[in-house]
Symmetry: C2
Subunit: 211 residues, 2 copies
């Protein structure tokens, strides 16, 4: 079960783009790591932007698959959100370059704008649909009284920051909190986000101790 040439290229490119960014990666480097000459890359992908788009769309597809499963269930809103967070964290943990690639993509909106390649436009649509779905669930949760009346877009931004960023934080994160992708760190991240959503950080003030 050797990977096809195309998948091998995508694997290599995902790791390189995540580590060094769009501008920092040369196609020569990608091609040779995949066992090809530089020019042969252009037979599989017509441009650097198209390659990046294909890498990005594949990552988003994996996340979409897992999160949609959590959000499809017609259960309690709390459980939907919890499972979506768990699904997102698990996907990011199984594909270490993914988190950094996603955040880099957000930052590099010049080089990887949807107009640069059709693959980038496809990834853009996929992400937009996923976010719309999460927004709908939170909005319904507020309407049903299960969630405080928070700002939904701001809540989604917090969710991204609290789940995606730590898995993208590399050496900095490891120095701060130890191995990022260890089973323990993954479990701690789930507890951190779920606990924060449910209770916040502060300890409830026991009855009779109100000042």
């Amino acid at each position: 079960m050797l990977p096809t040439s195309r998948e091998k290229i995508l694997d290599v490119a995902e790791a390189r783009f995540a580590q060094r960014g769009y501008a920092g990666v040369g196609l020569r480097e990608v091609a040779e790591a995949a066992g090809l000459g530089k020019s042969s890359l252009f037979h599989h992908f017509p441009s650097k932007a198209a390659l990046y788009g294909a890498v990005l769309d594949r990552v988003l597809e994996r996340i979409e698959l897992r999160m949609n499963r959590a959000l499809e269930a017609s259960r309690d809103v709390r459980a939907q959100i919890s499972d979506a967070v768990i699904g997102l964290i698990d996907t990011l943990a199984e594909d270490p370059p993914a988190a950094r690639l996603l955040l880099r993509t957000v930052f590099e909106d010049d080089d990887v704008s949807p107009g640069e390649a059709p693959e980038l436009a496809a990834a853009d649509r996929r992400l937009e649909a996923l976010i719309a779905r999460v927004a709908r669930v939170i909005t319904e949760g507020i309407a049903a009284g299960a969630i405080r009346p928070i700002s939904v877009p701001d809540a989604i931004q917090t969710l991204i920051g609290a789940t995606v960023y730590p898995f993208a934080s590399g050496e900095f994160g490891e120095k701060l909190a130890g191995e990022i992708f260890s089973a323990d760190a993954i479990a701690r991240r789930k507890r951190e986000v779920l606990g924060l959503i449910e209770h916040g950080w502060l300890r409830p003030i026991p009855r009779g101790e109100m000042s």
Copy 2:
């Protein structure tokens, strides 16, 4: 009060590095935007890494100044954390490229490792001291019973993700939640983070409604 040549260069470089990243920015672009020829840049900064380090250290200095003021006060731990969050958000809001520059720096640990230039090493030390200070406050808060027994490093990662990332999210963030640096958006971000710390997202279940 025209900026000195050095400060003008730093202003231009901060904006460019934040927008396109370390590898994506050419010194020619920076020099000409600052009104110099490319080679003249090397008179002020001996290398690209040194310039980046100077930019980064200046950003961290501003953040340190504001956060230390919030953390120095010998008040209630809750107030220290709230004021530190508010100070961090205000600093990021007053210096729009800062958030993106900081997160890019975390990601680009290859190009901007402390060994590349003394300015980068200085920035590294500054950041380390700031984080240690925040960690101390949270740890004391837990010991005093004001904060739930959370993992301190994970809490700091969440704090970074929930405060820095949204101000770095650029076009993506604007599409999701509107203008990032409007007074309203800044106020909403403060409410979001402080509310999350204090209560979480979920609505407390009213008495007698426990299932």
